[in-house]
């Protein structure tokens, strides 16, 4: 057999492509459920982490229902029924104007306190960044924050996921004294005001991305949350 004939070369290439495609798609399909489960567990882990509950991915799946009591979807400052908040793809939603988004909101209760957990998504330097931020029931004070990223520079922008950055958010406030949304100002040094945190040296664009992400994502929540809290207190039910 002449392996250098044109017809043989084409035949070989064709057979190879089909065999490889079949093998890989089989592998991808059969591993998909396990992969999806990992992503889901990680999401639960991150949500829990924003209210200061550290768990492994496996533990997160069990702890999640214990703490997160409600998952709502907000659209145009109204509650949107019949949607699974957990399944919403934020990457698509953030491209819409704030009020047109299907914005997921998680309500958690821990040690008798209620926390509102807002998922965030924005742009870093090299790719998307995302995170979760939990607000105390005054709607202004941050209880905890977690951030993660796809491809920020290690040692620089990638530092946003570490406590050295996230710890600063605790106790900061996102509303000013008139109750207007001001977000968090990620600064270069001298961050000591109620809504200021220190950015990352050498990671300015990522730090600015975090600032923009918080301001942008929260717009879709604050009016709704104010109403929500108002209705909860007037109806007398405990938060």
């Amino acid at each position: 057999m002449d392996v250098n004939k044109n017809s043989y070369t084409f035949g070989f290439a064709a057979v190879m492509v089909v065999v490889v495609a079949a093998l890989l798609s089989f592998a991808a399909t059969s591993l998909k459920p396990a992969q999806d489960k990992n992503v889901e567990q990680e999401k639960m882990q991150n949500i829990l982490s924003s209210i200061e509950i550290e768990a492994t991915r496996a533990e997160a799946e069990q702890l999640y229902p214990e703490y997160v009591t409600e998952a709502l979807v907000i659209n145009d400052n109204q509650l949107k029924e019949g949607m699974d908040a957990f399944a919403i793809d934020l990457a698509k939603e953030i491209r819409k104007p704030a009020l047109e988004r299907d914005a997921p909101l998680y309500i958690a209760s821990k040690d008798g306190e209620t926390y509102f957990i807002v998922p965030l998504r924005g742009q870093g330097l090299w790719g998307p960044i995302w995170g979760y931020i939990s607000l105390k029931s005054d709607l202004s004070t941050i209880y905890g924050a977690v951030f993660d990223h796809k491809a920020e520079t290690p040692g620089l922008g990638a530092e946003i996921k570490y406590p050295v950055f996230t710890e600063q958010f605790k106790g900061k406030e996102i509303l000013n004294e008139n109750g207007e949304l001001v977000g968090i100002d990620v600064r270069k040094g001298d961050a000591d005001d109620y809504n200021e945190v220190d950015g990352i040296s050498g990671g300015t664009i990522t730090s600015d991305g975090v600032e923009a992400m918080i301001a942008d994502n929260l717009q879709a929540y604050i009016p709704f949350l104010k109403d929500y809290i108002g209705s909860q207190t007037t109806s007398g039910s405990e938060l």
């Binding site: 250098n4 070369t9 190879m16 591993l31």
Partner: protein, 232 residues
């Protein structure tokens, strides 16, 4: 088909003098031992440096990377060696690339399913195994012209040669940079300046330049001890 196999094995005998050669003959053992020292892919051939710099901040990802490369290299060498008499010469590089790329895609999928955290940490570098020159180099230089068993040994040997450098570099980087090994703290808390001690982690060890310098030191030590590598 039987005819083809017969023909192939007779060819193999001519090339490899296989008859009665023990599985671990001296020549075959050399395939395993050479890449460890005299012909190390990283320190002597200076291939695969990119990943050696990128994922050696901590031991665990380096270990997973080594295992992934071991799998891709051994399986790739075996597959190409099996196919070596059927691969059309003009598209052989493409065929090798397809073999390596599919194996890497497979590794990536498996890691995402069963070692999710590591797969996140290694991120793009798993995909970049495809571009690791060591793998394509061995396929082209060895597997295309040698029998299956010898190619397998060659793949394993080179992967171990790659692995031990990776692990050595990440050992020093994690120890001196983070004060941990495999994530477990080994430098006592009380030593740190923050706790009134005298010690502080060297943050520079975490950055890629120190990987280069560490590899450089390994090459230096190796060259000064191994007379075969000393150039005139």
């Amino acid at each position: 088909m039987a005819e083809v196999l017969d023909k192939e094995s007779s060819k193999e005998e001519l090339i490899d003098k296989v008859p009665k050669e023990p599985l671990f003959s001296k020549k075959n053992r050399k395939l395993l031992s050479d890449p460890m020292n005299d012909d190390n892919p990283i320190t002597v051939q200076v291939l695969g440096i990119c990943s050696a710099l990128a994922i050696t901040v901590k031991l665990y990802p380096a270990l997973v990377m080594s295992i992934s490369v071991l799998f891709v290299m051994a399986a790739g060498n075996v597959i190409v060696s099996i196919l070596r008499n059927f691969i059309p010469n003009r598209i052989r590089i493409i065929v090798q690339l397809v073999v390596v790329a599919s194996l890497v895609a497979l590794v990536d999928q498996v890691l995402k399913a069963f070692a999710y955290d590591v797969s996140k940490e290694l991120s793009v570098f798993v995909g970049l195994i495809i571009t690791n020159c060591i793998i394509m180099g061995r396929l082209e230089a060895f597997a295309l012209g040698n029998g299956v068993w010898r190619s397998f040994l060659d793949g394993i040997g080179n992967a171990f040669g790659y692995a031990w450098i990776l692990l050595a570099v990440s050992f020093f980087r994690e120890l001196l940079g983070s004060g941990t090994l495999f994530g477990y703290q080994v430098i006592p808390d009380a030593w740190y300046i923050a706790n009134g001690g005298f010690y502080s982690n060297n943050g520079f060890m975490l950055l890629p330049p120190m990987a280069l310098i560490t590899v450089g030191i390994i090459i230096w030590v190796q060259r000064s001890r191994n007379t075969k590598l000393i150039e005139e």
